[in-house]
């Protein structure tokens, strides 16, 4: 019987041993899981602190710059009291931000963006165009200052007489006047081009027979209701600094049509109001389809 009980004890002992070792491995697992979790906490904490620091920096910068909300709310002196270690850096950042905004404002208010080129020996101007509150294409003009003021490169289309305009203004003394004139030509061109685009979009019943690159000539084909008589309308824009035509001419097989009082009124309208809007009015009064 001793043999049996010994076996029993031994097997019991080995059972306990097994239990102990499996518990032991579980205990071993816990430290590595804990290590893993601690590492994760550290990583997340640093990520959180990073975000907090960025947000705080933004806040500090905001305190140093006037803002729309502050101006409307307080209307008084800004609170410039920034409690931070790197206040010189923050002040520089605020000034940088202010200067960038002022330069952006110059850009928006319709001046000519200028950057210096070739170590200050040249300047590059950007001329923006706009029509009816919408900004259109921007053109660039590079000018050498030394030995004398002259145009070097540009992307202004060839049908704008740049060299003629340069000769007419004295580049040496009146650079700004020259830029103003070029801008006027470019804006008028952009306006005429935009009007043509709007005519095509808004008035499908009107056929564009002819137009030129400078958009200084526009020939449109109207259809008069009733007999569906075709009526050819030529718009001449001889003043290239303007978006309105200087002359409107009508042609029809029905010779009486252009002299009709209604059409004399419409021709007048076409010289006073941009073509796409004039056409809307003319179609509304059912003079054309």
């Amino acid at each position: 019987m001793e043999g049996v009980s010994t076996r029993g004890v031994l097997s019991h002992l080995s059972l306990l041993e097994d239990q102990a070792s499996s518990r032991g491995s579980r205990v071993l697992q816990q430290p590595s899981r804990v290590k893993e979790l601690r590492a994760k906490v550290e990583a997340l904490t640093s990520q959180r602190d990073q975000l907090k620091a960025e947000i705080q920096t933004h806040k500090n910068l905001q305190k140093l710059r006037p803002s729309v909300d502050k101006r409307r709310a307080a209307g008084g002196e800004e609170d410039m009291d920034v409690d931070s270690e790197s206040s010189e850096l923050l002040r520089l950042m605020a000034r940088h931000s202010e200067l960038s905004d002022l330069l952006h404002a110059h850009h928006l208010i319709g001046g000519y963006d200028v950057i210096k080129t070739r170590q200050g020996k040249g300047m590059c101007f950007s001329l923006a165009t706009a029509y009816e509150g919408v900004y259109l294409d921007t053109y660039n003009l590079e000018i050498d200052l030394r030995p004398k003021v002259r145009i070097t490169r540009h992307n202004i289309p060839p049908f704008i007489p740049l060299n003629n305009l340069a000769e007419q203004s004295d580049l040496q003394t009146g650079l700004r006047a020259f830029l103003d004139t070029v801008s006027q030509h470019l804006n008028a061109f952009a306006g005429r081009k935009q009007q043509l685009k709007l005519v095509k979009e808004q008035h499908k019943s009107v056929e564009v027979m002819e137009s030129n690159l400078l958009c200084s000539i526009l020939v449109l084909m109207f259809t008069v209701p009733k007999e569906k008589t075709p009526l050819l309308c030529t718009l001449e824009y001889t003043d290239h600094t303007r978006c309105l035509p200087t002359r409107v001419h009508l042609d029809s097989e029905d010779k009486r049509l252009p002299d009709a009082p209604q059409w004399k009124k419409n021709c007048s309208l076409l010289t006073e109001v941009p073509v796409h809007r004039a056409l809307t009015a003319i179609r509304k009064s059912r003079d054309i389809v």
């Binding site: 804990v34 947000i55 803002s67 850096l89 404002a105 509150g133």
Partner: protein, 175 residues
């Protein structure tokens, strides 16, 4: 004793897991706030400004003097650019305040308040600017224009102003 060690570890695990969840929630909230900040144009930094921000957040190994001096150099360049631009435009701006009203990827709407001087005329102008990206071009529109001028001669400006304002203009100063 093994039993106690085990329950301590389980406790610690639970604690750590709770901490992790808490941190993740904090981070998500901060990221949302960060997103709001970043949509504001005034906080979209590049170049030396980005370096300075990185320094302030403890993200770089650069010395403070280095960061400061590089930023100072860039600020001085901007001062020069502003002087030149002021000379060319003949307009002297003394303040520009920008606020992003809306930033939806393709479309950005800002409110701008400018004040300055042109010849002898002192002015303040405020308007909304909407910029929509359309391929390589950006379409920009001005609306809600408000102009304050120290002048009684506003008639000559009324047609210009009426293009950007929904309401008709009365005589006298416009605010």
């Amino acid at each position: 004793n093994e039993g106690r060690k085990m329950s301590e570890n389980t406790e610690e695990v639970k604690l750590l897991e709770a901490q992790i969840m808490h941190l993740q929630a904090e981070i998500e909230a901060l990221q949302q706030q960060q997103q709001v900040n970043c949509k504001d144009i005034t906080f979209q930094f590049t170049g030396q400004m980005q370096d300075a921000l990185a320094f302030l957040c403890g993200q770089t190994q650069d010395l403070e003097e280095m960061v400061v001096s590089r930023l100072k150099e860039e600020v001085e360049e901007l001062e020069e650019d502003l002087k030149l631009q002021t000379r060319i435009d003949g307009i002297s701006l003394n303040s520009c305040i920008r606020k992003t009203l809306q930033n939806r990827g393709q479309e950005v709407v800002q409110l701008l308040c400018l004040s300055g001087r042109c010849s002898e005329l002192v002015f303040q102008v405020e308007f909304q600017l909407s910029e929509v990206k359309d391929g390589s071009r950006t379409e920009r529109k001005i609306s809600d224009l408000n102009l304050v001028l120290d002048s009684n001669d506003l008639q000559s400006l009324s047609s210009f102003l009426s293009r950007y304002r929904p309401a008709p203009i009365n005589n006298g100063k416009i605010i």
